[in-house]
Amino acid sequence: DTAVSQTPKYLVTQMGNDKSIKCEQNLGHDTMYWYKQDSKKFLKIMFSYNNKELIINETVPNRFSPKSPDKAHLNLHINSLELGDSAVYFCASSHAGETGSFGYTFGSGTRLTVV
């Protein structure tokens, strides 16, 4: 019973292609996130959605477009893939209280390799 599930786990594709990564959470959390982890293990936040609404959009190229059909799903579509997009992408979810989140639950990641 995976709490935050991402698909696919691995994705190898050629430069210029368009690809999507899907994320689903069954925790009833109201906020979902996409993070990118580079080869140096630095985790960078990309997007955040709260109840299907975009609340955080960091400096990410327009080729990246998140979509949240409902609060349990947050998908990431990437157009015109570039070599520099190769990384591990993590989806996460959380429920926020008055004093911040109660902790994030992460998916197991999607390793994207652009060749």
Partner: protein
Amino acid sequence: SQQGEEDPQALSIQEGENATMNCSYKTSINNLQWYRQNSGRGLVHLILIRSNEREKHSGRLRVTLDTSKKSSSLLITASRAADTASYFCAPDNTDKLIFGTGTRLQVFP
């Protein structure tokens, strides 16, 4: 928003020894969270300490928080080979967590 800065970057110890990792941050926080990441996996939430708490325990984990020094430490007692992982701190004061590059802990059997 702010990220935590973990120190040291890497730590190697023998099984049974204690491991201490430190975290510094720059602005006020609501809480501070510690996460573990095993190789090839997602981050796992370990423990959350609120700004009005000074110390918290969870099993072999002990976290301290000093808001006057804007620092936190994570102590893992009686370490095991299975504790080998990267550990991240995340100060929480806004609508997102920003992670540093973590401390890579290696526990040798």
